[in-house]
């Protein structure tokens, strides 16, 4: 049992800007939220990325819904972000590579696991400890 959860992160040290736990979220979906966009826009000068959870374990990757949201948010902001996605025991980062609109690459970021930031543990707790 799990429920998708998100967190908006700031640079340079991935400080938490906003926990995203909208009504209507489920094990496989975070619904569209104007509130989330408002928070992203209000914090556009410092936002570094948005992490969210996927159900299950093992290495995951972005869904088509994820990719189209990445592209739309970046088009509105006028700059690129990092998009971590986690499972119960793994995490990947997504970043636009181009040249096409939805050409995102997924990569492991082992130093994240070594530093084990507080937001990562909290995102797992909110997503999987139900």
């Amino acid at each position: 049992m799990s429920i998708e959860t998100g967190v908006l992160l700031a640079w340079p040290h991935w400080e938490v800007i906003h926990w995203h736990l909208p009504q209507g979220r489920s094990s496989g979906y975070l619904p569209d939220s104007r509130d989330l966009w408002d928070v992203i826009w209000e914090n556009r000068a410092k936002v570094w990325g948005f992490a969210h959870s996927h159900p299950g374990s093992g290495i995951t990757g972005p869904s088509y819904e994820d990719l189209t949201t990445f592209a739309a948010v970046e088009a509105a902001l006028g700059r690129r972000l990092y998009w971590p996605i986690i499972t119960s025991d793994s995490e990947v980062f997504c970043k636009w590579k181009g040249p096409a609109r939805l050409d995102y690459v997924t990569f492991r970021y082992d130093s994240l696991r070594k530093t084990n930031p507080a937001w990562l543990a909290e995102l797992r707790r909110l997503s999987y400890d139900l």
Binding site: E4, G6, G28, Y29, L30, P31, D32, S33, R34, L36, W37, I40, W41, R44, H52, S63, Y64, E65, D66, T68, T69, A71, A72, V73, A75, A76, L77, G78, R79, R101
Partner: protein, 83 residues
């Protein structure tokens, strides 16, 4: 009677208004098309021309007039759903 709405769009790190109001009940597709054309031609107040503007995954968010705002408002913003 058709109501006219102000349209605000956020794109390329800027926020601006369409130069003319639109029918509040216009379809999402029409509004996205008008906003895209305005961005491409540089006619959105507050946003410079964006020749490759693409609003494919933008949401058309409508708010009726209220006690604080006498006119209906349409926001064109990115979707924020994740799967």
């Amino acid at each position: 009677m058709n109501m006219e709405a102000k349209v605000i769009v956020t794109y390329a790190g800027q926020t601006g208004d369409l130069p003319m109001p639109v029918d509040y009940d216009a379809s999402d597709a029409d509004i996205r098309r008008w906003v895209t054309e305005s961005l491409v031609t540089g006619s959105v107040t507050g946003i410079g021309a964006v020749p490759d503007a693409d609003l494919t995954d933008f949401i058309v968010d409508r708010s009726e007039a209220n006690t604080e705002r006498a006119y209906p408002l349409i926001l064109c913003r990115p979707k924020t759903a994740f799967g």
